[in-house]
């Protein structure tokens, strides 16, 4: 076999679907399944049989999803390795969660085209097919390279280089004392190690936390619809969902609770939140809905500030606007099918707005496009598949960095010997190198010779 480690990936297209499939290939496939599946059939899994059951984390009773699974024993599989496929309910979040479980159990995220590559390398598919994979990988490689270049300033790769710099510095501080025990270097400064570590670890945590697309994958983008009563918030939600979910009446204030739905827009999983209308109200029930709506505003990735363009901008609209201060919002001017009567205040005139009619459906496509652009900055639309893959790879790598750094931190605490501390830092640097393609040794020596006076 070409390569022994076990890989996993979501093998159905991104976005909403009835079912989704996670494919796992490699010798650990079956044992990973056994740790995540309930209930394991008597006598174990037989090859090429479907089994019904539930997926849950090894250390928890919280069922993630009902699934159908199939185990294909080597060599009777696509890659000719042991393969497990998990069919679960479609939807990015569930798929990502199950994939994460599989990765946590020891599988590695598959590289682009890796299943096919293994299939070829293990003699499962022929040369012509293999050639086309090369093209495929080339396309992805070049596109991701282009992406990396476009992001060089102020974005991911600059940040990665930043982390890399701190980690190299850390490693140089450690290695100098390992490799030059007879030099007059002074005492090893553990507080300098600790502070350099803190710097790197903080950057990694920030990257992982603020990683928008990564967050999109895990949780979906939360989009909150806000506006005064009866501007059509529920209608907008329904129009985006293309079905009637929220109760829609012309009596203002019908939506008392929060309504949350996930919808796929241009491949992005949007979590839409419909809220009670915000206004000055004395009704305690209504007030409760308003309080809930206000509370949710800060945690939304985007707020759609809905206005009724057939009526003048009034003090209730102003209350909503005030609640949105400092938030990321988009003006949506509903009822474009009616004659315009709205007269936007100066502070909103230059704000980005999209006219729609939830009644006729006009402008809805434009709204979706605008939302997608806001999150994807236009540049990722055509490479969605690639983006998600490469981003997941980045996250995968960064999580390994975080893991190694945690291990370093506790080892430093216990006072483990330097050459063992170095192992964790090297592991972290290797993980970043998987993204940036950079190797380590010589840079470290450069740093050591630059900082310490060494030489006999």
């Amino acid at each position: 076999m070409y390569r022994a480690d076990t890989i996993a990936a979501i093998s159905t297209p991104q976005g909403e679907g009835g079912i989704g499939i996670i494919r796992v290939s490699g010798q650990e496939s079956l044992s990973i399944l056994q740790r995540l599946f309930r209930s394991i059939p008597n006598g174990g899994f037989q090859s090429h049989r479907f089994y019904y059951g539930e997926i849950l984390p090894p250390d928890s009773a919280a069922v993630l999803d009902e699934v159908m699974v199939v185990y294909m024993r080597s060599p009777r599989s696509f890659t000719r390795e042991d393969v497990v496929e998990i069919q679960c309910h479609g939807g990015t979040i569930i798929l990502q969660q199950i994939l994460q479980l599989v990765l946590d159990c020891g599988a590695r995220l598959a590289d682009p085209g890796e299943f096919t590559r293994r299939a070829f390398l293990n003699g499962r598919i022929d040369l012509v097919q293999a050639e086309s994979i090369i093209d495929l990988i080339r396309a992805k490689t070049e596109a991701s390279l282009a992406m990396a270049h476009s992001q060089r300033d102020g974005s991911l790769s600059a940040k990665l280089h930043d982390v890399q710099g701190s980690l190299r510095q850390l490693l140089a501080l450690i290695e100098a004392y390992v490799d030059f025990p007879d030099e007059d270097l002074g005492d090893q400064d553990n507080s300098l190690l600790r502070s350099t570590y803190d710097l790197a670890a903080t950057k990694v945590r920030q990257l992982l936390a603020g990683y928008q697309e990564g967050k999109v994958l895990r949780e979906g983008i939360s989009v909150l619809i806000a506006g005064k009563p009866n501007v059509g918030k529920s209608s907008l939600l329904n129009a985006l969902l293309k079905e009637k979910r929220a109760i829609v009446t012309s009596i203002p204030g019908t939506t008392r609770d929060l309504i949350e739905e996930v919808v796929n827009i241009r491949g992005l999983p949007l979590k839409l939140l419909d809220t009670a209308g915000i206004c000055q109200s004395d009704d305690p029930v209504e007030q409760e809905g308003i309080r809930l709506a206000r509370e949710r505003i800060p945690s939304a990735d985007l707020v759609l500030f809905l206005l009724d363009s057939s009526r003048p901008y009034d003090s209730d609209d102003a209350v909503v606007y005030e609640a949105l201060q400092g938030r990321n919002f988009l003006l949506v001017l509903n009822k474009s099918d009616l004659p315009a009567a709205i007269d936007l205040p100066d502070s909103l005139i230059s704000h980005q707005n999209v006219p729609v009619s939830t009644f006729s459906g006009d402008g809805l496509e434009g709204l979706k496009e605008t939302i997608a652009n806001l999150f994807l900055h236009g540049r990722l639309r055509d490479n969605r598949d690639l983006t998600l893959l490469s981003k997941a790879r980045h996250r995968d790598a960064l999580q390994r960095v975080e893991h190694a750094l945690l291990s370093f931190s506790s080892a430093l605490q216990v006072g483990v010997s330097s050459e063992l501390l170095a192992i964790d830092i090297r592991e972290a640097l290797d993980a970043i190198g998987q993204i940036t393609g950079e190797t380590t040794t010589d840079d470290i020596l450069d740093l050591i010779f630059g900082q310490f006076c060494i030489g006999k």
Partner: protein, 624 residues
């Protein structure tokens, strides 16, 4: 040209640390071998510091010994101070170092060469390679003699176009007191080799009678001294201390005032020097804030007054040297016996070598030591050994031996050299080894003895001692795993001391030993039988148990890389027309020409994606 009538299997050019190992290995493997030196009184001469080993270098010496080389035995027989460095750190980075009696070291090695079967030792300056059909077939000498050989190993040290600098004075020389080698590097250049220029330097040798040792801090070796060789039982030679001294602000002022006559700073020296071994003028200029620099005064032998002041090499003029050395406390009246100097020499970029150290351009020609851009006796000896082994394997018609990065520092070094080439003198550091925890001094025999025995370098007696050690280790590991500490039977003071009173289940001795606070000696309180084992066995068992977690982690990394390391790339592979790679990657691969996918992955700027594309292209090509 006068043709010498005897033909050889292996001709080794140069009898320094690389040449001696190469010639001994080839002769011991049964090849008729000729070793040529420009000066037979300078065989295995320590041209710079009178010491062997040190961090990472000690590891290499142990590896040479495990494979059946001579360096470890030679230093054990002639060493006058042995120390293990990094004793307070873990076993992987502990390293042996020894001061040598410089003259004894060279004489003993010469004696070993002279008594080696299949080996002729001759004095001659080689001026050219003799080629037949583009393949190495012998060498020509200054005295117009042609020696024929099926293979040739070049270990030219600092001799090719050697140029000695003392201040603004310079003159040709291979080392102070020796002639340079002229002609050979021009021929190599004509043959298409990329020949570059490096620089190194050595401090003055000081007269011990003029040093006030009472004002210096002595540094003694370990007692008892720990030998390098797995075959040496103990060191009996009397041990001698080194002394520690420091430069001061006045020394630095003297250095600065002499810089206008420094060949380095005047731009006369074009060769690139080693960063880890800078001259004192470099240190003073690059670290202006450091108010003193340390030096060890190392004795050059028991029967000489010469001392080597480590870390104080310089190429400044002799009058600056006088003032400088005398500015150091304890050296106020010091007399210089031999001046410090810098030397420039030609080397051949090692990127033009296969991992067997055979050149890619000329078959049956091998390069080892400083010709490959390395510095250090141990680095040279390690390469010399491998070049000698591989030349012998070629003569036998067998596949060459390449040590993996997970097997030996020698493997890491050669892979670094042939994969990346070098632009400055290359020295080994433990931080160059990604599997550092696996490459320890203590287990060099476990890593390499079998290979050494298989190719016929390790003698039967040494090998049976090794297999016995291995058996004892295995048996003890098994015993530790099986034997359990039972609460009912255990000594209560032991349980109390190690907080084991509340333990639920019986715990194995292996688990006990894994705890950082429990050593073998403490384990012996429960069962004294383990103390009957030889020290080396107990040491090995303890390390393997205590560091199991880390060792397993590295072993797993090795396993992941193993496919890549064994995936060979044909030398003729056409990268430039390969689709799927960026122009930059294509150009790099074309220039570096890696032998394996593993090598390719270590070239800076080659991404995992590029490796994936390359691996598929290789498979495709294989199928075709």
């Amino acid at each position: 040209m006068i043709l010498y009538d005897k033909g050889y299997d292996v001709i080794v050019v140069g009898a320094g640390h690389a040449g001696c190992e190469a010639a001994l290995a080839a002769a011991r493997m049964g090849c008729s071998t000729l070793l040529l030196s420009i000066n037979l009184d300078a065989v295995a001469l320590m041209s710079c510091n009178p010491a062997v080993g040190g961090q990472a270098k000690g590891h290499i010496v142990r590896e040479i010994d495990a494979l059946g080389g001579e360096m470890g035995k030679n230093i054990d027989a002639t060493g006058i101070q042995f120390r293990v460095l990094n004793m307070r750190k873990g076993p992987a980075v502990r390293a042996s170092r020894a001061q040598a009696d410089k003259q004894l070291y060279r004489l003993r090695m010469k004696n070993v060469l002279e008594h080696q079967e299949n080996l002729d030792l001759k004095q001659a300056e080689v001026t050219a390679l003799h080629l037949q059909d583009g393949v190495a077939a012998g060498v020509d000498t200054r005295a117009s003699v042609r020696y024929r050989g099926k293979t040739v190993v070049l270990t030219t040290g600092t001799f090719m176009r050697g140029l000695i600098h003392i201040g603004l004075v310079n003159y040709p020389g291979g080392r102070a007191g020796d002639l340079p080698s002229i002609g050979l590097s021009d021929q190599l250049k004509d043959l298409g080799f990329s020949v570059g220029r490096l620089k190194t330097g050595t401090p003055a040798r000081l007269d011990g009678r003029t040093i006030d040792f009472s004002r210096l801090e002595p540094q003694f070796g370990d007692d008892p001294p720990r030998p390098f060789s797995f075959s040496t039982e103990r060191i009996d030679r009397p041990q001698i201390p080194c002394y520690i001294a420091y430069t001061n602000e006045r020394s630095h002022e003297i250095i600065r005032s002499g810089l206008d006559r420094s060949p380095l700073y005047a731009g006369i020296i074009e060769g690139i020097g080693p960063r880890y071994c800078p001259s004192i003028e470099d240190k003073v200029m690059r670290f202006p804030d450091k108010d003193r620099h340390q030096t060890f005064l190392e004795p050059e032998g028991a029967d000489t007054v010469e001392y080597y002041p480590s870390g104080l090499s310089t190429s400044l003029p002799i009058d600056v040297q006088w003032a400088f050395y005398r500015s150091i406390e304890g050296l106020e009246r010091v007399e210089i016996m031999r001046p410090a100097y810098a030397i420039e020499y030609d080397y051949v970029d090692p990127i033009q070598l296969h991992a067997t150290l055979e050149t890619k351009l000329i078959a049956n020609l091998y390069h080892a030591g400083q010709i490959n851009g390395t510095s250090g006796y141990e680095e040279a000896a390690g390469q010399g050994l491998m070049a000698g082994i591989n030349a012998a394997m070629r003569c036998r018609g067998e596949e060459g031996i390449v040590l993996g990065r997970n097997e030996a520092y020698i493997g890491v070094m050669i892979d670094d050299l042939v994969t990346l080439g070098t632009r400055e003198p290359y020295r080994m550091f433990t931080s160059r080894a990604e599997y550092r925890l696996l490459l320890r001094e203590d287990n060099a025999d476990l890593r390499l003895r079998d290979t050494g025995y298989r190719i016929g370098l390790v003698r039967d007696g040494d090998y049976s001692a090794f297999t016995q050690k291995k058996r004892l280790i295995a048996a003890e590991m098994e015993r530790l795993a099986a034997q359990k500490l039972l609460l009912s039977e255990a000594d209560s003071s032991f349980l109390q001391e190690f907080d084991l009173e509340r333990m639920q289940n019986a715990i194995s001795y292996e688990q006990l030993l894994r705890r950082p606070d429990i050593t073998y000696e403490q384990l012996a309180r429960l069962d004294s039988s383990c103390m009957e084992l030889p020290d080396a066995v107990r040491e090995q068992v303890e390390i393997q148990v205590k560091y199991k977690g880390y060792i397993d982690r590295q072993a797993e990394q090795v396993r992941r890389m193993s496919r890549m390391e064994s995936a060979r790339i044909p030398h003729s592979f056409d990268y430039l027309s390969m689709s799927g790679l960026t122009a930059e990657v294509r150009e790099k691969l074309h220039r570096f020409r890696p032998d394996t996918l593993g090598q390719a992955s270590r070239i800076p700027g080659i991404t995992p994606a590029a490796i994936a594309v390359l691996s598929i292209a290789l498979k495709v090509r294989e199928e075709e």
